[in-house]
Amino acid sequence: MLTILYDGIAYGMLLFVLASGLAVTLGLMNFVNLAHGAFAMAGGYVTVILMSRLGMPFLATLPCAFLATAAIGLALERTLYFRLYTRSHLDQVLFSIGLVFMASSGVDYVMGSEQQIIKLPEFMQGRVDVLGVSIGIYRTFIILVCGVLVVALQLILSRTRFGSRLRAAVDDARVARGLGIDVNTIFAVTFAVGSGLAGLGGALGAEILGLDPTFPLKFMIYFLIVVTVGGTSSITGPFVASLILGIADVAGKYYVPSLGAFVIYSVMIVVLILRPQGLFARPR
């Protein structure tokens, strides 16, 4: 019971790191980016390649996964995405679905369609018993890493100058420009960091979530749930939403496996009917 709760929390934390970039682009910048999962997949594959081809240790590949996906995100933002900020949602949806399809079959072409296996270092495998609760060491690691990230993100967004500039740029880009804030750079940096976090999440999660070319489509709905259910006013909303989603999904798969993914979809639809702006948002 407590083990399931613990696994659920780890899963939820992971979802949060994966989706936090989307919470900013979709939630704050109002850009429907269905291709977010593609960045996560890129991070996962960076780790796989570095470990299997270059023999790097798992921990050392994590920063690389972050940096590599952030670079990809930055490049795409500067070349393609920025053109679409002002376009209709339909255009954004079409564009990002197109990117997902290209990424999926591109990876399929280069790496093959099979599930990639990441071999964790010895000291991260296994479980220990703490007060009768069986706790996975790797899951503890995930919770620690993600916890630090959550706190850091929250502090950056609420306490730093960059955070307040970002919030200003998102609230009203024109006024922010008038005040001398370089909105384009801020959006680009934010997008890059968000993609990088997705990549890090993909690398961390490859062992738990699995990694194959269908990853972006398979988890797209999860990311979207986190953002829409969590609401867009703060980073805490998506955080709570991903914890709930993670625990519900793990518990659902354990207790009522026959219902499968049915539970979370239904919960999402019900929440969206009752609170179209998200669980934690103040109705605008």
Binding site: H89, G98, L99, M102, L272
Partner: protein, 352 residues
Amino acid sequence: MTVLNQSGKASSEASVIASLSMRHRWHVGEAIFWVCVVLALFALPSRYLLINEIAVLALFALSLDLVLGFAGIVSLGHAAFFGLGAYVAGLLTKQGMADPTLGLLSAAGAAALLGLATSFLVLRGSDLTRLMVTLGVGLVMGEIANQAAWLTGGADGLQGVAPGPILGMFSFDIFGRVASIYSVCVLFVLFLAARRIVNSPFGLSLLAIRDNPLRAAALGIPVSRRLVAAYTIGAGYAGVAGALLAQTTQFVSLDVFDFNRSADVLLVLIIGGTGYLYGGLVGAAAFRVLQDLIATITPQHWQFWIGLILVLLVLARRDRLAQLARRMVSPLLGRLGLAGLMRGGYPSGAQR
């Protein structure tokens, strides 16, 4: 249709009426289009299966056009209705009620009911919420079909769907000749109905809502009720398309609910252009021909090219492309006396 700059009230009224009735009238170009369809049916006897597929896809895209191009609802889960229609028709046939017309009608009814039930969810919230809810409904339907294996056959699909003769007269043959003629006929009949719908005051009010819901509401148009109606009709159409697929391929599998199917039909409609009814039909033909073409070059990575087409279409600003096409085609049509052909509506790219 800027006709209000006339001097007298009476003459402006008359020209409004004239321009509205222009929309109803059949144009030579449309006739040519359907003659081409019939010719294709007789001239390409080796391609019956392909024609059948195109007809089903065209009907599916037509149903999305009613929802997206006319009502302005962006849907990522339109396959929910397609799949429901396919399973309803397939199951009815397997239960012994093999009359194809009955199958079509029940599929349309079931899908329209689901559309009616879910339309109230779609009305709420922003574009994003709509996306999520339509996507969620599609996934839930797929999951239900997957779990209810006792009914749907689960991952194995429904096999051996053998519909009876159409109207008690024409039996399906193995070459797909009857099937493709049947599909094209159903497509034509439903197209006529859709044409009637979008040119009615009801259809015009949908266009008003799509372009500016606030102003439409201020003009006294019951926005929510109209959107519910449009969504329900679109769902029913999609159900018929699904039923056609089930009857003509005699097989239903879980991939009728696939997300890729919803994405594909969106692409079909985008290729053909939204908001003038022929978009889905032209797009379906172009999509399948393109698919065949690419498959002969690189059979495995069709999806990559779909993605590339989508990205390029968006970057090239499809609304401007549509205008460009219009500007290039309409003088040509005007010279041939077909000026009204491109006038079914405006491209919906401007919606926000």
